[in-house]
Amino acid sequence: MTDLTPITALGASAPRSQDFGAYTLRENSALALVSLAIARCATPPTPFGLTLPSAGCCTTHADYTAFWTSPDQWMITAENLGETDFAATVQNEVPDARLTEQTDGWVAFDITAETDGQIGAVLSRVANLPLIDLTPGKAVRTGFDHMSIFLVRRSERHVTVIVMRTLAVTLWHALETILQRLGDTK
């Protein structure tokens, strides 16, 4: 049992990354996730200095991001902590919160663009939502190609798409198809 080889959600030994003209699609296998819930109407904590956001929004502080998932519940993510016990780290930060480790259940794909406005073209093909709900600082859960996905709009040129881990290859294919078309028309 000592010769196990860790693989990413896409089955390789290293995260996949591909350029499509002005766009880059990158598997982020180092993203740690944990869901955090509090009692109804309790005062939201501020783990790692994060202000837990209201419905449909996300907040970022240093390498940590929190996005709203449902009333009194959020997802906390951290860059480069995917191989650590992130739930225990968060539990130390907020001892009264109810936490569930989520890192192994999801895969995150980052889409970055070279100029402002280009991410909007991607999102209009991914989500059946008005783009005003997907501006920087917004985060939603919605349906895409029969998959339930989270869209976390981190900045004008950066969006993270999170899907359940078993759908990693399917989502990569769907995003690849969109980005190939958009990249070709640059």
């Binding site: 059946n128 919605t142 349906g143």
Partner: protein, 92 residues
């Protein structure tokens, strides 16, 4: 059809799953003497109004909340939407 989610604004009905009459929230008391008859009505009998209807929708591809949607079955016009948890806690 667009459903005005109380927290998230207008969302496509494709994100939701329909469960039918909102009277399902009013589960009969299983310890009551007429529980068997009450549960028979609860499980099998539904009103089928041509007009305003209160119904349950589950935001499956969204925030996973249950909503009570008041919809006109003739026009699909939605006149009211509430979180089912709020309705249940209010006891109506």
């Amino acid at each position: 059809m667009l459903i005005p989610h109380p927290l998230l604004g207008l969302r496509d009905a494709q994100e939701f799953t329909y469960l039918g009459d909102a009277n399902l929230l009013n589960r009969p008391d299983p310890t009551a003497p007429d529980a068997e008859a009450a549960f028979c009505d609860y499980v099998f009998l539904r009103d089928n109004p041509a007009g305003k209807h209160r119904e349950l929708w589950f935001h499956e591809q969204g925030d996973r909340s249950w909503l009570v949607v008041t919809r006109d079955t003739l026009t699909h016009e939605i006149s009211d939407v509430e979180l089912a948890t709020d309705v249940a806690r209010r006891g109506k």
